[in-house]
Amino acid sequence: MLERASSLSPEDRDRLSQLQWHARTAVEGLHLGIHPSPLKGTSVEFKEHRPYVRGDEVRSIDWKLFGKTDRLYIRQYEEETNLRASLLLDQSGSMGYAGAKQPGTSKHEFACRLAASLGYLFAAQHDAVGVTTFDTAVKMHLPPKSRPAHLHSLMEILATSRCGGETSLASVIESTLPKLGRRGVVFLISDGFDQVDALLRALAMVRQLPHEVVFFQVWHPDELDFPFSTRTRFRSLESPQRERIVDPLAFRAQYQKNLSDFRARLEQGCKSQRIALVPCTTQDTPSEVLAKFLAERGGA
């Protein structure tokens, strides 16, 4: 699983190499990059004129405008910088679900592959990317860096990631805030199985920093379809002593109602916080998920 999680197929790499992430908001990077910065810099992108004050570089004076207006104006350009992407990877017990009848890709495995894809994408753009794995608390933290060797470290963390333990999404996100650093993009890769209100509160705090937040919500198809028909004992992946013996046929309708309520509340909360909520299932391919998301994002 580890190898599968941390390694990307040539097809994935090929597809990812064609993708490019552009920050929608200004980000504060340390290096020159392709993303807009709140600071004014030396790029070719003209931003505005401002009156000359003493101490400004003479070469910044717009002489053509002086000729027209007989006043000294300084010509200012947009600064372009690199992006800090922080990947928050949920490795709680619930992410370990891989299907009841024919176990396949687990949600955690999918999440790792998605994180690896993002890491590859940003490394290719020379953007800084870091990862934080957590369940009830932060387990591993790799700060964002843009060195090529950093991707290897990221992949190693993903490969050694183990899921287990209970979820405490909101508190973990809150505790991660100081580590997020300057403005960047925060990717939360999780099933989001936590109190919706607390989760949204925590994400709102991330948004206020202000980071761009993208929430990849990972589902297993069984969780959406609830395809059980015989009497079943559901045992919690996070705390095995919690179990329910139920007749799925009798519970199905109510389960699906609860599911749609949960998803609707999460979607509504994310929308109000301008957080991009990207539902995906373990049947999807991470690169395709990214490609589709970026296509929609670009269109927007």
Binding site: F228, P240, R252, Q254
Partner: protein, 686 residues
Amino acid sequence: MGFLNAALLLGAMAFVVPLVIHLLNRSRFQTVDWGAMHLLESVALQNAKKIQWQALLLLLVRCAIPILLALAMARPILDRFQVTASGGSSATALLIDDSYSMQAPAVRSTDPASPETLWQLAQRSLRQVTEGLGRSDHRYLRPLRSSAEPPTAASHTDPRPIVGQVQRMAPDQGPIDPIAAMQQSLDLLEKSSQPLRRVVIWSDFQKQDWQSAGSESMAAIRRRAEAMVVRPEFHWIPVATSTPVANLQVMFDTASSEVSLLGEPLELRVTVANQSAQPATQVPVRLQLDGMEMATKRIDVAARSSAQLAFAIAIDREGSHSVRVSVEDPSTIDQDDLDELPIEVLPTRRILLVDPNPQQRLLDSETGFLKLALEATLGDQSNRQSPAVTLVRASPDRLTQEVIRAADVVVLANVARLPESLVEAIAGQVEEGARLCIFGGPQIDIGWYHQFFGVGSPAPLLPMRYGDWKMLSRDSANPQEQPQTIAPAPYSDPSLTFFNQPEQGRLDQSTIRALRPLLPWNDPSSSTPNSPAGDPNTTGSKPSSSPGSVPLKLANGQPLLAVQPWGKGMVQQWAIGANEVSSDLPVRPAFVPLMQRLLLWDAALVTPRVAAQARRESEIEPMAPEEISQLASQLGATVHADAASFLQSHSQKHTTKEVWRWMLALLVLALFGELLIEKRLTGGGR
């Protein structure tokens, strides 16, 4: 509550199937390690109790389905269910009295000029009832007697075939058998599937028919009816006549058919009974032989009494004949206005009398009296050769095998011995059906008889062995040695029952003066006179023969006549001779009929007359209403005045009702309920 097909109730045990499936499913489940418990737990917490109840309800409904199905198939019936007459389907056995006493006029006759008979009244009443029953009611029509029809007779829901059937019936039968008829009706109703079952009876309730049935039989029927799943109801509709009924009845005074010899004068006694309150005068009584008028006599019969008259006929043709006597009676019952008597006329019998000395004077010879007795069959026509018998007298030394083979009856009267060559011919002839009659006497060589006809011989014809010739004298001190008389009537042998009536002749007046005792074979030393005949079969002789019997004894118990069947024939062995030397029997009037019956008659041809029993139907004596009510109470029957009363009483009544339709409706509801509950439980997602 009862069930028509109670055995199918066992099908209700199928309810364990859903129960077992439910329990098995409870204990069998798959385990899934699940992440989204928060979605599941809230559902479980919210609906667990509700769903538990629904699952329990579903289980109950599923268990109820096979139970309801079994109940519906077992056809339950509710007792004491109130319905209207047209509301419930019934099976009704209609039993009508078709004995000829039903020809008597009815009391409630509508037309005095042409009075309605009880039969017509009952027919009308039955028609009214059958038409008044509902369309779904099943009707069975039966005569009130034991019927040869199987109890699965077809029923009709349409009254018309029943009406047609009763129109074709006629009251011309003998006595009814209400008990057998009711039993058969119960057989029939037991097989029917209707929840209401009834037996309706129309009868004139003659005492001799109904009281002879007995209260015990009624109680037995009642017990059987009460034991049935659906208890049948009994309804009686008596049809009453006014007594006395004007009716004349004629019948022969004999309980059995007659057997006669060719040309023998036969006296037929006839009784004419008058049941009316008026005397009958100069009533013509006709006698017909084989349909031909023989004689007509007129007779006066006082009111409610009877008179006798006699007809003398002689039939000169052998074979079966029928004599019919009829009386002219314009009133009511026709069946008892005539009576028939079968008469069997025997063919000519060839009799061989073997006499030691046939040249002797007739009455001094051994067979003289016998010859006269047998020829006396001609009565006053003694100047002619009798057509009934052909007599041949011969001495033993002139006998040939041909003569013996030509005889139907061979009489050996005091014959000392026969040529040995004839022994086989005699035995063969007896075996073929002839009768051999051996009279005792002083000349008999008992050694020869015992050697050739005794036990151990090739043809052990003698039923008993002979003792020494013994003269009986009044002077003897030993009572056994004194003259004896023949034992008086009654006699049980069919040939001798004739003498049970003293006027036909008395055998016990004869005195026996000398005899050769008949002793049993198995006790040669014994001389006990009371010993019965020995068993001659112990020798294992060729033809089969029944053990011998002693139809006639002396007053002191000594055997006088022993008989033994042999092959198709018979051997008669007398202790005395056939002439006057040993007894005065030959000069007694009874000797003639005695010899005729023993030698010529065939008792097997006499049969009892069944018609004689039917005559009790003519003695019209209906039961009083109180007696009918009492008898009805023993059966638990309801007595109705007429058909209207019966129909009225059943317009509203308590009865049983089949409720299988309800069970079926419940079953359908349960099936729909099961679907709904299951759909609700699964959220329609199955």
